[in-house]
Protein backbone atom coordinates (compact mmCIF):
# COMPACT_ATOMS: atom_id res chain seq x y z
CA UNK A 1 0.00 0.00 0.00
CA UNK A 2 1.35 3.42 -0.91
CA UNK A 3 2.72 5.47 1.97
CA UNK A 4 0.53 8.50 1.37
CA UNK A 5 -2.13 10.63 3.03
CA UNK A 6 -1.21 9.06 6.36
CA UNK A 7 -2.44 10.61 9.61
CA UNK A 8 0.59 11.87 11.51
CA UNK A 9 -1.09 13.61 14.44
CA UNK A 10 -4.50 14.77 15.60
CA UNK A 11 -5.66 16.88 18.54
CA UNK A 12 -9.05 17.94 19.88
CA UNK A 13 -9.14 20.52 22.63
CA UNK A 14 -11.03 19.55 25.77
CA UNK A 15 -10.68 23.06 27.16
CA UNK A 16 -9.62 26.55 26.12
CA UNK A 17 -6.02 26.83 24.90
CA UNK A 18 -3.84 29.70 23.70
CA UNK A 19 -2.14 27.53 21.07
CA UNK A 20 -1.85 24.04 19.65
CA UNK A 21 1.52 22.48 18.85
CA UNK A 22 2.20 19.43 16.71
CA UNK A 23 5.75 18.26 17.30
CA UNK A 24 8.09 15.46 16.26
CA UNK A 25 6.81 15.60 12.68
CA UNK A 26 8.69 12.86 10.80
CA UNK A 27 10.54 13.71 7.60
CA UNK A 28 9.11 10.62 5.95
CA UNK A 29 6.77 12.37 3.50
CA UNK A 30 7.02 14.94 0.76
CA UNK A 31 4.15 17.28 1.59
CA UNK A 32 1.82 17.95 4.51
CA UNK A 33 -1.91 18.59 4.65
CA UNK A 34 -3.24 20.27 7.78
CA UNK A 35 -6.96 20.34 8.48
CA UNK A 36 -8.38 22.50 11.24
CA UNK A 37 -11.84 23.16 12.62
CA UNK A 38 -11.61 26.07 15.01
CA UNK A 39 -13.39 28.62 17.11
CA UNK A 40 -11.91 31.27 19.39
CA UNK A 41 -13.12 33.39 22.27
CA UNK A 42 -12.56 36.58 20.26
CA UNK A 43 -15.62 38.78 19.78
CA UNK A 44 -15.16 39.04 16.05
CA UNK A 45 -13.70 37.36 13.01
CA UNK A 46 -10.05 36.52 12.98
CA UNK A 47 -7.55 34.20 11.32
CA UNK A 48 -5.44 31.36 12.49
CA UNK A 49 -1.68 31.96 12.51
CA UNK A 50 0.94 29.28 11.97
CA UNK A 51 4.52 29.06 13.19
CA UNK A 52 7.15 26.56 12.08
CA UNK A 53 9.85 25.00 14.26
CA UNK A 54 9.20 27.54 17.00
CA UNK A 55 10.59 30.33 14.83
CA UNK A 56 9.27 33.58 16.34
CA UNK A 57 11.40 35.87 14.17
CA UNK A 58 9.99 38.00 11.37
CA UNK A 59 10.56 35.29 8.77
CA UNK A 60 7.00 35.00 7.48
CA UNK A 61 4.78 36.79 5.01
CA UNK A 62 1.30 36.23 3.65
CA UNK A 63 -0.69 37.30 0.62
CA UNK A 64 -4.41 37.08 1.20
CA UNK A 65 -7.55 37.07 -0.89
CA UNK A 66 -10.81 36.99 1.01
CA UNK A 67 -14.46 37.85 1.01
CA UNK A 68 -16.32 38.72 4.21
CA UNK A 69 -20.09 38.69 3.66
CA UNK A 70 -19.71 40.22 0.19
CA UNK A 71 -17.14 41.70 -2.10
CA UNK A 72 -13.50 40.84 -2.16
CA UNK A 73 -10.45 42.13 -0.37
CA UNK A 74 -6.75 41.75 -0.90
CA UNK A 75 -4.31 42.05 1.95
CA UNK A 76 -0.67 41.43 2.60
CA UNK A 77 0.85 40.92 5.98
CA UNK A 78 4.28 40.36 7.34
CA UNK A 79 5.16 38.73 10.57
CA UNK A 80 5.60 40.83 13.65
CA UNK A 81 2.04 42.00 14.13
CA UNK A 82 -0.29 41.23 17.02
CA UNK A 83 -0.27 37.70 18.36
CA UNK A 84 0.72 36.67 14.88
CA UNK A 85 4.28 37.79 15.60
CA UNK A 86 6.59 35.33 13.98
CA UNK A 87 3.78 33.62 12.12
CA UNK A 88 1.96 33.50 8.82
CA UNK A 89 -1.79 33.76 8.35
CA UNK A 90 -3.75 30.70 7.43
CA UNK A 91 -6.87 31.18 5.31
CA UNK A 92 -9.45 31.72 6.87
CA UNK A 93 -11.38 33.45 9.49
CA UNK A 94 -12.63 30.94 11.98
CA UNK A 95 -15.63 30.75 14.22
CA UNK A 96 -15.66 33.48 16.85
CA UNK A 97 -17.45 34.03 20.09
CA UNK A 98 -19.65 36.91 19.06
CA UNK A 99 -23.03 36.63 20.72
CA UNK A 100 -24.59 36.14 17.30
CA UNK A 101 -22.45 33.06 16.58
CA UNK A 102 -24.41 29.91 17.17
CA UNK A 103 -23.06 27.42 19.66
CA UNK A 104 -21.16 24.64 17.91
CA UNK A 105 -20.45 26.76 14.84
CA UNK A 106 -16.81 26.38 13.85
CA UNK A 107 -14.76 27.53 10.89
CA UNK A 108 -12.64 25.22 8.75
CA UNK A 109 -9.27 25.70 7.14
CA UNK A 110 -7.34 23.40 4.79
CA UNK A 111 -3.63 24.00 4.41
CA UNK A 112 -1.15 22.37 2.04
CA UNK A 113 2.56 22.62 2.79
CA UNK A 114 4.71 21.47 -0.12
CA UNK A 115 8.22 20.03 0.31
CA UNK A 116 8.16 20.41 4.10
CA UNK A 117 10.96 17.88 4.57
CA UNK A 118 13.35 19.64 2.18
CA UNK A 119 16.23 20.91 4.28
CA UNK A 120 17.56 23.41 1.73
CA UNK A 121 14.64 25.55 0.53
CA UNK A 122 12.29 28.12 2.02
CA UNK A 123 8.79 26.79 2.69
CA UNK A 124 5.43 27.64 1.18
CA UNK A 125 1.86 27.06 2.29
CA UNK A 126 -1.43 27.45 0.42
CA UNK A 127 -4.53 27.77 2.55
CA UNK A 128 -8.25 27.99 2.05
CA UNK A 129 -11.20 27.97 4.35
CA UNK A 130 -14.06 29.88 5.84
CA UNK A 131 -17.07 29.88 8.06
CA UNK A 132 -20.72 30.85 7.95
CA UNK A 133 -22.75 31.99 10.89
CA UNK A 134 -26.25 30.72 10.43
CA UNK A 135 -27.87 32.90 13.06
CA UNK A 136 -30.37 35.57 12.20
CA UNK A 137 -27.50 37.98 11.61
CA UNK A 138 -25.93 35.87 8.91
CA UNK A 139 -22.27 36.47 8.33
CA UNK A 140 -19.67 34.55 6.43
CA UNK A 141 -16.07 34.71 5.42
CA UNK A 142 -14.13 32.85 2.75
CA UNK A 143 -10.40 33.15 2.27
CA UNK A 144 -7.48 31.94 0.19
CA UNK A 145 -3.94 32.61 1.36
CA UNK A 146 -0.41 32.15 0.15
CA UNK A 147 2.15 31.91 2.93
CA UNK A 148 5.93 31.99 2.94
CA UNK A 149 8.48 31.03 5.58
CA UNK A 150 12.10 31.85 4.79
CA UNK A 151 13.41 29.08 7.04
CA UNK A 152 15.18 26.33 5.08
CA UNK A 153 15.14 23.64 7.76
CA UNK A 154 12.79 20.71 7.40
CA UNK A 155 9.58 21.38 9.31
CA UNK A 156 9.52 19.29 12.48
CA UNK A 157 6.92 21.20 14.49
CA UNK A 158 3.87 23.35 13.79
CA UNK A 159 2.26 25.77 16.24
CA UNK A 160 -1.19 27.20 15.60
CA UNK A 161 -2.40 30.35 17.32
CA UNK A 162 -5.38 32.69 17.04
CA UNK A 163 -4.22 35.85 15.28
CA UNK A 164 -5.51 38.32 17.86
CA UNK A 165 -3.36 38.79 20.94
CA UNK A 166 -4.92 37.54 24.14
CA UNK A 167 -7.46 35.25 22.47
CA UNK A 168 -7.73 31.49 22.73
CA UNK A 169 -9.01 28.45 20.86
CA UNK A 170 -12.17 27.05 22.45
CA UNK A 171 -12.85 23.45 23.43
CA UNK A 172 -13.83 21.36 20.44
CA UNK A 173 -11.20 22.90 18.17
CA UNK A 174 -9.56 20.07 16.22
CA UNK A 175 -6.40 19.72 14.17
CA UNK A 176 -5.33 16.82 11.93
CA UNK A 177 -2.00 16.55 10.14
CA UNK A 178 -1.46 14.18 7.20
CA UNK A 179 1.71 13.17 5.37
CA UNK A 180 1.51 12.97 1.59
CA UNK A 181 3.78 11.29 -0.96
Amino acid sequence: MANTYILIASQTLGSTAASITLSSIPSTYKDLMLYMSARTDNNGNQNVSIRFNGDTATNYSTRRLYSANSGGTAADSTSGTSAGAGTAHLGSAIGNNNSAMLTGNFGATFNYIANYSDGSLAKTIASTGGFINTSAAVSASREWTGGYWSGTAAISSITLLPYQAGTNFLAGTTVSLFGIG
Binding site: M1, A2, T4, Y5, K30, D31, S61, T62, R63, R64, L65, G72, T73, A74, A75, D76, A88, Y112, A114, N115, D118, S120, L121, A122, K123, T124, I125, A126, T128, W144, T145, G146, G147, Y148, S150, I180, G181
Partner: protein, 165 residues
Protein backbone atom coordinates in the same frame (compact mmCIF):
# COMPACT_ATOMS: atom_id res chain seq x y z
CA UNK B 1 -7.32 -3.32 2.45
CA UNK B 2 -8.15 0.30 1.60
CA UNK B 3 -7.46 1.40 -1.95
CA UNK B 4 -4.23 3.33 -2.27
CA UNK B 5 -4.89 6.86 -3.46
CA UNK B 6 -3.23 10.28 -3.59
CA UNK B 7 -0.15 8.49 -4.86
CA UNK B 8 2.95 10.30 -6.03
CA UNK B 9 3.25 9.73 -9.79
CA UNK B 10 6.29 11.87 -10.50
CA UNK B 11 8.39 14.64 -9.03
CA UNK B 12 11.03 16.92 -10.53
CA UNK B 13 13.27 19.82 -9.56
CA UNK B 14 14.84 22.21 -12.05
CA UNK B 15 18.63 22.32 -11.93
CA UNK B 16 18.89 25.64 -13.73
CA UNK B 17 16.75 28.29 -15.40
CA UNK B 18 14.31 26.67 -17.84
CA UNK B 19 11.60 27.97 -20.14
CA UNK B 20 9.20 25.08 -19.57
CA UNK B 21 8.59 22.04 -17.40
CA UNK B 22 7.01 18.91 -18.87
CA UNK B 23 5.25 16.12 -17.02
CA UNK B 24 4.86 13.28 -19.49
CA UNK B 25 3.69 9.67 -19.62
CA UNK B 26 0.89 10.29 -17.13
CA UNK B 27 -0.66 6.87 -16.50
CA UNK B 28 -4.38 6.30 -16.91
CA UNK B 29 -4.51 4.51 -13.57
CA UNK B 30 -6.29 7.20 -11.57
CA UNK B 31 -9.50 9.24 -11.60
CA UNK B 32 -8.22 12.74 -10.81
CA UNK B 33 -4.87 14.47 -10.73
CA UNK B 34 -3.33 16.93 -8.29
CA UNK B 35 -0.28 18.92 -9.40
CA UNK B 36 1.67 20.74 -6.69
CA UNK B 37 4.27 23.25 -7.80
CA UNK B 38 6.55 25.63 -5.95
CA UNK B 39 9.37 27.97 -6.82
CA UNK B 40 10.16 31.31 -8.37
CA UNK B 41 10.24 32.79 -11.87
CA UNK B 42 12.73 35.12 -13.49
CA UNK B 43 10.20 37.92 -13.90
CA UNK B 44 6.49 38.61 -13.74
CA UNK B 45 4.33 36.52 -16.01
CA UNK B 46 1.21 34.42 -16.20
CA UNK B 47 1.72 30.80 -15.26
CA UNK B 48 0.28 28.63 -18.01
CA UNK B 49 -0.57 24.93 -18.04
CA UNK B 50 -0.83 23.23 -21.42
CA UNK B 51 -2.60 19.87 -21.66
CA UNK B 52 -1.10 17.30 -24.08
CA UNK B 53 0.96 20.22 -25.43
CA UNK B 54 -2.17 21.72 -26.96
CA UNK B 55 -1.11 25.30 -27.71
CA UNK B 56 -4.40 26.39 -29.29
CA UNK B 57 -5.55 29.34 -27.21
CA UNK B 58 -9.19 28.91 -28.13
CA UNK B 59 -9.24 25.54 -26.42
CA UNK B 60 -8.86 27.02 -22.95
CA UNK B 61 -11.01 29.30 -20.82
CA UNK B 62 -10.40 30.20 -17.19
CA UNK B 63 -12.12 32.45 -14.71
CA UNK B 64 -9.75 34.03 -12.24
CA UNK B 65 -10.05 35.91 -8.99
CA UNK B 66 -6.74 37.22 -7.79
CA UNK B 67 -4.87 39.80 -5.89
CA UNK B 68 -1.95 41.66 -7.34
CA UNK B 69 -0.09 44.38 -5.50
CA UNK B 70 -2.68 44.26 -2.72
CA UNK B 71 -5.52 44.93 -5.13
CA UNK B 72 -8.36 42.52 -5.99
CA UNK B 73 -9.15 41.77 -9.60
CA UNK B 74 -11.00 39.21 -11.64
CA UNK B 75 -11.01 38.23 -15.27
CA UNK B 76 -11.86 35.54 -17.72
CA UNK B 77 -8.91 34.45 -19.77
CA UNK B 78 -8.92 32.85 -23.16
CA UNK B 79 -6.68 32.83 -26.17
CA UNK B 80 -3.43 32.17 -24.31
CA UNK B 81 -1.39 29.14 -25.47
CA UNK B 82 -2.62 27.13 -22.51
CA UNK B 83 -4.73 27.59 -19.43
CA UNK B 84 -3.86 30.74 -17.47
CA UNK B 85 -4.52 29.34 -14.06
CA UNK B 86 -1.45 30.18 -12.14
CA UNK B 87 0.63 32.92 -10.81
CA UNK B 88 4.21 33.83 -10.31
CA UNK B 89 6.60 34.95 -7.64
CA UNK B 90 9.89 36.61 -8.37
CA UNK B 91 11.11 36.76 -4.81
CA UNK B 92 10.18 34.09 -2.32
CA UNK B 93 8.81 30.76 -3.46
CA UNK B 94 5.17 30.56 -4.54
CA UNK B 95 3.05 27.40 -4.31
CA UNK B 96 0.20 26.31 -6.59
CA UNK B 97 -2.14 23.36 -6.26
CA UNK B 98 -3.90 22.35 -9.47
CA UNK B 99 -6.77 19.86 -9.34
CA UNK B 100 -7.86 18.15 -12.57
CA UNK B 101 -11.00 16.05 -12.38
CA UNK B 102 -11.66 13.05 -14.62
CA UNK B 103 -8.42 13.56 -16.55
CA UNK B 104 -8.71 10.28 -18.45
CA UNK B 105 -12.40 10.52 -19.32
CA UNK B 106 -12.70 10.60 -23.12
CA UNK B 107 -16.34 11.69 -23.23
CA UNK B 108 -16.08 15.09 -21.57
CA UNK B 109 -14.04 18.27 -21.60
CA UNK B 110 -11.56 18.57 -18.77
CA UNK B 111 -12.18 20.85 -15.80
CA UNK B 112 -9.66 22.14 -13.32
CA UNK B 113 -9.38 24.26 -10.24
CA UNK B 114 -6.32 25.93 -8.81
CA UNK B 115 -5.42 28.13 -5.91
CA UNK B 116 -2.12 29.40 -4.73
CA UNK B 117 0.58 31.87 -5.40
CA UNK B 118 3.00 34.15 -3.78
CA UNK B 119 3.21 34.53 -0.05
CA UNK B 120 5.31 37.62 -0.55
CA UNK B 121 4.54 40.97 -2.07
CA UNK B 122 6.44 40.23 -5.27
CA UNK B 123 3.87 38.06 -6.99
CA UNK B 124 0.19 37.38 -7.43
CA UNK B 125 -2.17 35.11 -5.52
CA UNK B 126 -5.01 33.54 -7.45
CA UNK B 127 -7.93 31.16 -7.36
CA UNK B 128 -9.19 29.93 -10.71
CA UNK B 129 -11.51 27.51 -12.40
CA UNK B 130 -11.33 26.54 -16.02
CA UNK B 131 -11.86 24.11 -18.83
CA UNK B 132 -9.83 22.51 -21.60
CA UNK B 133 -12.15 21.95 -24.52
CA UNK B 134 -10.95 18.50 -25.42
CA UNK B 135 -12.20 15.00 -24.74
CA UNK B 136 -8.73 13.50 -24.99
CA UNK B 137 -7.30 11.83 -21.92
CA UNK B 138 -4.54 13.93 -20.41
CA UNK B 139 -1.20 12.20 -20.81
CA UNK B 140 1.13 15.15 -20.41
CA UNK B 141 1.19 18.66 -18.91
CA UNK B 142 3.55 21.42 -19.97
CA UNK B 143 4.11 24.38 -17.66
CA UNK B 144 5.20 27.76 -19.00
CA UNK B 145 5.56 31.29 -17.73
CA UNK B 146 4.32 33.85 -20.21
CA UNK B 147 7.34 36.01 -21.02
CA UNK B 148 9.57 34.56 -18.32
CA UNK B 149 11.33 31.39 -17.15
CA UNK B 150 11.39 29.09 -14.16
CA UNK B 151 14.43 29.44 -11.92
CA UNK B 152 16.57 26.76 -10.27
CA UNK B 153 14.88 24.53 -7.67
CA UNK B 154 11.40 24.89 -9.11
CA UNK B 155 9.67 21.77 -7.79
CA UNK B 156 6.75 19.92 -9.41
CA UNK B 157 4.96 16.90 -7.93
CA UNK B 158 2.10 15.05 -9.60
CA UNK B 159 -0.29 12.95 -7.53
CA UNK B 160 -2.99 10.54 -8.69
CA UNK B 161 -6.29 10.14 -6.87
CA UNK B 162 -8.31 7.01 -7.42
CA UNK B 163 -12.03 7.16 -6.75
CA UNK B 164 -13.49 4.44 -4.59
CA UNK B 165 -15.49 1.71 -6.25
Amino acid sequence: MPTATYELISTSTTSGTVSSITISSIPSTYTDLVLVTSGTTTSAGQLIYRMNNDATGGNYTTTNWFQSNNSVSNNTSSGLPGAYIGNYSVSGRAQDTLHIANYKNTSMWKTFYIYGGAGTSVGDFITSGGIWKSTAAISSIVMLVNGANFTTNYKVSLYGILAGS
